[in-house]
């Protein structure tokens, strides 16, 4: 039993050390996916062919959880004498559980908002969706969005609320777009017949792994209605404006954009401030003055979000992450984590257990010494 515990701990040690070193090349986000939130760590021997070479964080976490659970009964940790140890182990289990829940249910997104702008959604800049916006109704827009995982399969897509079908003819995880024909290295890409894409040359690009670079996902979509083609569109992260498709006098906007998480309330950025220490470039404080408008709960108020003081509202936490555009654009990181209480409970348990254990060791030690 104890050997399994040791095995898990040593695996954790290796994974964390290895993962930390690989952050230099992979960046924090990808490392997290590859090492800590995976069942196995894969090694790509030849492109496209991966073999598992080491257990990943999730797997070890599950094994350790089961192991600790059984240890409690086998070693009878529930007696009064071993109360400290019991608390520590229960605490570690809570940690593992919390970590697991967070990686499954936690959502991180960004809200980048300019001064004066109002938004009721945040975006995950690492994931994209294909949004089809039906502008038929003057009161509201109907949005159908197709997630990245479906686009990747390069299949025919149909949806009861869209009167046509989409054929994903090509999916590029990253590409360079240019209007200069001399740069083109067109290799067997579908021919674009409609939209702005007709004037653009596409060069496939290798996928970026660095945290600060955005992959410009690009897809070629053919729109088909009852067997007849309405043309092929080029959609890309690099094209920020929606492209319009007219179908039976109805206008549909097509756009490839970061995945959006809508909220039942909106935020308006009233003012962004960036203070530095006088005579230096060292930032002293960043702050965003935001107006919160929640019609549903009738909550309308101004909130100041600044370093170490995020806004927590309806299960989401908004904290000041970055800024841009000459200090008129504020970027807030939005975290939604239903398991946020677990670590608090866990560390309370472990700390209490450790202190109990250490104090009883100390008392024992000083008794022995005075004898």
């Amino acid at each position: 039993m104890l050997k399994t515990t040791l095995f898990c701990l040593i695996c954790f040690l290796i994974i964390i050390f290895w993962g930390t070193l690989s952050q230099v090349h992979l960046g924090i986000y990808l490392t997290q996916k590859k090492f800590f939130q995976s069942f196995f760590i894969f090694w790509e021997i030849i492109p496209g062919f991966n073999i598992p070479i080491f257990p990943g964080g999730t797997l070890i976490g599950i094994i350790l959880f089961i192991n600790l659970f059984t240890v409690i009964f086998i070693n009878k940790l529930y007696t009064l004498k071993k109360l400290g140890l019991l608390t520590i182990h229960l605490g570690v289990m809570t940690f593992l559980l919390g970590g697991g829940l967070t990686s499954f249910f936690g959502i991180e997104s960004q809200l980048s908002i300019e001064e004066g702008e109002t938004k009721n959604y945040s975006e995950d800049i690492r994931k994209i969706e294909l949004a089809i916006i039906d502008r038929a109704n003057p009161d509201y827009d109907q949005v159908i969005s197709i997630p990245q995982s479906i686009l990747k399969k390069q299949n025919v897509i149909s949806h009861p609320q869209i009167p046509f079908e989409l054929i994903i003819k090509s999916y590029l995880p990253n590409a360079k777009l240019t209007t200069n024909s001399s740069n083109k290295t067109q290799v067997n890409l579908p021919h674009v017949t409609k939209g702005i894409g007709t004037e653009i040359y596409v060069n496939p690009n290798s996928v970026f792994t660095q945290d600060n670079l955005v992959n410009l996902v690009t897809v070629f979509v053919e729109i088909v209605s009852q067997g007849t083609s309405l043309g092929t569109w080029l959609l890309s992260r690099a094209i920020e404006k929606p492209q319009t498709l007219v179908f039976h006098d109805n206008e549909f906007d097509l756009i490839l954009r970061p995945v959006r998480y809508y909220t039942p309330y909106s935020l308006t950025l009233k003012d962004f401030n960036h203070d530095i220490y006088p005579g230096t470039d060292i930032p002293k404080n960043f702050s965003s003055l935001v107006h919160l408008n929640d019609q549903e709960k009738q909550e309308m108020r101004d909130v100041l979000i600044y370093m170490n003081h995020p806004l927590r509202y309806r299960g989401k936490t908004y904290y000041q992450a970055s800024f841009g555009k000459n200090d008129t654009l504020s970027i807030l990181q939005v975290v939604q984590n239903p398991a946020w209480l677990f670590p608090y409970l866990a560390c309370f348990l472990v700390a209490a257990g450790l202190i109990f254990q250490f104090l009883s060791y100390l008392i024992h030690f000083s008794k022995k010494n005075s004898r």
């Binding site: 104890l2 050997k3 515990t5 040791l6 701990l9 040593i10 954790f12 040690l13 964390i16 050390f17 993962g19 930390t20 070193l21 952050q23 230099v24 924090i28 490392t31 997290q32 800590f36 919390g98 970590g99 967070t102 936690g106 991180e108 530095i276 220490y277 006088p278 005579g279 230096t280 060292i282 930032p283 002293k284 404080n285 960043f286 370093m307 170490n308 003081h309 995020p310 927590r312 936490t317 908004y318 904290y319 990181q333 975290v335 984590n337 946020w340 670590p343 608090y344 560390c347 472990v350 700390a351 450790l354 202190i355 254990q357 250490f358 060791y361 030690f365 010494n369």
Partner: protein, 616 residues
């Protein structure tokens, strides 16, 4: 008994002698008046500090040392600063630019390998080369630059810094500061008169009159340039005492145009500078007194803090501790050969004494900065040293087997040496980055986690002691081995407790400010590695997988993990300002890790080859 007393008293005399004799700033310190000049508070790098600190920090950045040696005469930092500000021609001849890189030396045409420093005037003919090279190097990504390229950039930055320092009060080459100011005043008044006379009709002016106006313009431009260049802001706002909006001399002088009034400090500074140029100590003294009196009446607190900081700079607590820890170590080494009892007693006294000085420095820092002890990498080294020495003294109190003293002296010495090297990157009392600006979390999370680091080192050094003594000498008795094992076990438990609580507090801080408990950031991972490793050691012992020897070897491995998370993660490119030091630090880190691995390898040598008989 008599012999003991004699030895102890000799040691104490030696200790005091060292304290007052050896200090990087020579004890033939600058004359009293310059010392007074040193206490004038100014705003520099976002912080109000005495001119003494400005001088030391800048000189360290340019030269790597706090004093200048010129024809065997030592010049203190503040004397150098005064010369730079008032007689820049003279200062341009001081060899303050440290050049270590042989390729850079070649670039500057220096073929004398003994020559380590050059003066500004020596560099003048090479400016074009240096700036051309800098321009092309700037296009290369920071991480990819070669050591030579980094050195060139570094030299360029230092030249710029020196240039800006020279132009921090008045334009360089000014000979009479009062006259300069007077002529500015006169010209502005003339212009006023002018415009009245001419009734705002520029076109009707004579050629000569137009030229006069143009010359006013250049005078004003000169001060605008000073405002742009200056790194020192000596003029505090007159109304709001708490405000940090201090102004540069250039800004202050041009403020005359709308107000027809000078900030009271401006004229006092011109008097001071003129007196220094013309060697009039009395006037120099008087005008500095008036500057200090002005600050005193404006805000006594600022003056008191500035005075305290000058005292702190001069006392060099940490440097003295380095010397004393070294002395403790030497005493202990001698005690293994001769006069054990009196020498050990003397070593313990001296250790407690140097721990006191170390503590004094730490407390001074806390009070000056108004922050908990650990605010940057530099102060973490000081603090780790302090905790390890403290733990060593406690161990010595319980076990009385010299090991506590031994470990304390080594760790105290090493960590302070590391701190000394870290201090070369500039102001050690620098302002905090926005994210870190929280005294509550700094004092809870950072302090606990640092205590965790320290205790892991203590356990590791107990392991090293065990391996080397047991392997190389037959003097390690079984009772001693039992003691060592118990010490190491206790410290590892202590370390698990503190590293765990520290790491978790960090998580809570992250959750409070960013809404997430854990982000897999390298620094977070580093701390977690230590927690897990301590848990591994304890569980391996429990399962019978390791015994005394295995426990010691595991403790030694803890040194590697701790040094990795303390220093290593900062080298992964997470961004630390001083690349120069970090390159060298990487070498030492790898060397340290290698040495620990070697020690573990030695510890694995079969028991029969050990000179001491090992317990199970």
């Amino acid at each position: 008994m008599k012999r003991k007393l004699v030895i102890i008293s000799i040691l104490f005399m030696l200790g005091f002698f060292l304290l007052f004799r050896i200090s990087p700033t020579d004890m033939k310190s600058p004359s009293l008046t310059v010392k007074k000049f040193a206490t004038i508070p100014v705003l520099h790098n976002g912080r109000i500090k005495p001119l003494d600190s400005v001088a030391r920090n800048t000189l360290i950045l340019i030269q790597g040392k706090q004093t200048i040696k010129l024809n065997n005469i030592k010049i203190s930092a503040i004397e150098w600063l005064l010369t730079v500000l008032t007689q820049s021609e003279k200062a341009d001849d001081y060899p303050v630019f440290l050049i270590n890189n042989p390729e850079v030396k070649m670039l500057l045409g220096i073929f004398d390998l003994q020559k380590k420093t050059v003066s500004f005037n020596d560099l003048v003919p090479h400016f074009e080369t240096i700036s051309n090279q800098t321009n092309s190097i700037h296009k290369i990504d920071k991480q990819l630059r070669s050591p030579y390229q980094k050195e060139v950039i570094n030299l360029y930055d230092r030249i710029m810094l020196y240039h800006r320092l020279k132009n921090s009060y008045f334009i360089e080459g000014t000979h009479s500061f009062s006259k300069n100011l007077l002529s500015f005043e006169k010209k502005i008044q003339e212009m006023r008169q002018f415009i009245k006379e001419t009734n705002h009709q520029f076109d009707t002016l004579s050629e000569e009159q137009k030229k006069k106006i143009a010359s006013i313009d250049t005078t004003v431009q000169q001060y605008n340039y000073i405002d742009e260049m200056s790194i020192i802001k000596p003029l505090p706002p007159l109304e709001n005492i708490l405000s940090q909006d201090w102004n540069s001399m250039g800004f202050g002088v041009t403020e005359y145009i709308p107000t027809y009034n000078f900030h009271p400090l401006i004229q006092l500074y011109t008097l001071t500078f003129d007196a220094n140029v013309h060697n009039q100590p009395k006037i120099f003294n008087q005008s500095i007194d008036r500057i200090l009196a002005f600050h005193q009446s404006r805000s006594p607190r600022i003056i008191n803090l500035a005075k305290a900081e000058v005292l702190f700079n001069e006392a060099q607590f940490f440097f003295k501790s380095i010397v004393l820890y070294l002395l403790v170590f030497l005493l202990l080494c001698v005690s293994w050969l001769r006069w054990p009892t009196p020498l050990i007693k003397a070593a313990l006294f001296l250790l407690i004494f140097s721990f006191g000085i170390h503590s004094l420095g730490l407390i001074f820092r806390i009070v000056l900065q108004g922050r908990p002890p650990v605010t940057n990498l530099y102060s973490s080294a000081i603090f780790i040293g302090w905790i390890t020495v403290g733990l060593g003294i406690i161990l010595e109190k319980f076990y009385k087997n010299r090991i506590g003293i031994f470990i304390s002296s080594i760790l105290g010495f090493t960590t302070l040496i590391i701190a000394h090297h870290l201090s070369l990157s500039g102001d050690t009392l620098e302002m905090m980055q926005a994210v870190l600006d929280s005294n509550f979390w700094l004092s809870t999370h950072v302090v606990t986690v640092t205590i965790g680091y320290s205790s892991t080192f203590v356990a590791g050094f107990i392991g090293l002691f065990y391996v080397f003594r047991g392997l190389l000498s037959s003097s390690l008795t079984q009772a001693q081995q039992k003691d060592l094992y118990r010490m190491a076990y206790g410290i590892v438990c202590f370390s698990l407790l503190f590293s765990f609580i520290g790491t978790v507090l960090g998580g809570i801080w992250a959750d409070q400010s960013w809404g997430r408990f854990w982000g897999w950031d390298p620094k977070e991972n580093g701390a977690l590695l230590i927690v897990i490793w301590n848990a591994i050691i304890l569980h391996a012992r429990l399962s019978g997988l390791i015994r005394a020897r295995g426990f010691m070897l595991c403790a030694i491995f803890g040194n590697n993990l701790t040094s990795f998370s303390w220093f290593g993660v900062n080298m992964l490119g997470v961004g630390l300002h001083s690349y120069g030091f970090m390159d060298k630090a990487l070498f030492w880190l790898l060397l340290f890790i290698l040495s620990q691995l070697t020690a573990i390898g030695l510890g694995l040598i079969p028991k029969k080859y050990w000179r001491s008989e090992l317990i199970k």
